[in-house]
Subunit: 202 residues, 2 copies
DNA sequence: CCAGTTGTGTACCGATCGATCCGGAAGTGC
DNA sequence: GCACTTCCGGATCGATCGGTACACAACTGG
């Protein structure tokens, strides 16, 4: 294994990769995968295209990195929700997390994981499938968590964890679409509250 | 004004414009505005591009005609819902209409008015705005109808018609996104039923 | 100082985009 | 039969797409 160098060999990178990835995330979030061109991306990132290719790979590879960044940043409420001690707490944190993330000031509206490629041309099918799998993984994690809640007696015996997870995802998706369409956090908070009233809903 | 001719002058059109528009609608519904190329469209419509330009106009004009066709066909439940005698009836027909339309066999899944351009690049911004306005008009019509229901005593006095309309649109959008992601009508029917339980929800 | 390594900047690539051009086809009316 | 009109088919257009090539820059280590 290489001896630890005092600093790496070669020309030092002239940009902050983290900051560039953050900028790329916002472009994909606002314009979608197909609507974001390499020119849009590199201008927002403040680097040129050979630097983008060297640091992040091609457009698809960049998008995958952006999705990870989004999952750990704006969409981290997903993991936080699962850690809640009750099923109602899980749903509350999840849906309120969607609302907060979808309506942050200085960020694009909506949810990148939903809107970057809900539908697509053939060329972007791999991205559309990636995002469908990302959303479905969220639903699977919710199902598992609600099963655990049911086993712990935290849900009525007749409650179907799959239906409950589907309900939470449906409301969450609806909230994200409304936000993308211009609805504010204030517009949507009462909708979130209503959706969580009468727990469990299914 | 021209005398009524026994038949029009010039070479007769070699395709059914209505059938071609129906084919174009499915392409935009499945692939989105940006994801649908002229090649995709003309191949599905069974005509060549000069025929498409002659009969329907450019890509944007074709899309506008497709949206009208969609509104009067698969999305006609919007107008049908407004004609229901009660607020609950309106919401029930509206959301179940979304579910039915978003999960029809032999049709793309989801809602064209939501997914064809929820986000976009700059070139398609006029289409994104067109669809946002189309959805917002639906919400406005629901608000007006719920105001009417409140005035008629069909809703509790404290009910906010705007919130109620927002709730119906949110659930409807969530249902459409779930369907686009692969959920079936059977998966989603209980979610629709749950969303309509405990009326009015806000 | 120079070789080697890594990064940057600009030009350029083939492919595809939306849109138009133009010759020929299929009709009507005189 | 021919002029005129409308439609079809294929070629072509300029612009932009995602991606690569190559010369030069900025560093390290010997």
């Amino acid at each position: 294994m290489d001896r630890q160098r005092s600093s790496p060999v070669g020309r030092p990178r002239g940009f902050d990769a983290g900051a560039a990835l953050e900028k790329a995330m916002r472009v994909f979030w606002e314009h979608g995968y197909e609507g974001a061109s390499l020119t849009d991306l590199t201008q927002a990132m403040g680097i040129n295209r050979t630097s983008m290719y060297a640091a992040f790979g091609n457009k698809e590879e960049l998008f995958r990195k952006v999705l990870n960044h989004y999952t750990e940043g704006p969409a981290s409420y997903g993991a936080e929700a699962l850690a809640e001690p009750t099923a109602l707490g899980v749903a509350t944190v999840y849906i309120n997390g969607t609302l907060r993330s979808a309506t942050m000031p200085d960020y694009p509206a909506g949810c990148l994981g939903l809107q970057a490629s809900l539908v697509s041309g053939e060329d972007a099918r791999v991205i559309r499938d990636l995002l469908a799998a990302w959303r479905d993984e969220n639903r699977t994690l919710l199902i598992d968590r609600f099963r655990q809640a049911a086993a712990a007696g935290d849900l009525p015996p007749a409650t179907d964890p799959e239906l409950l997870a589907r309900y939470v995802m449906t409301v969450s998706n609806g909230i994200a679409v409304q936000a993308a369409g211009g609805a504010t956090r204030a517009d949507l908070q009462p909708i979130v509250d209503a959706a969580l009233r009468n727990w469990p809903p299914v």
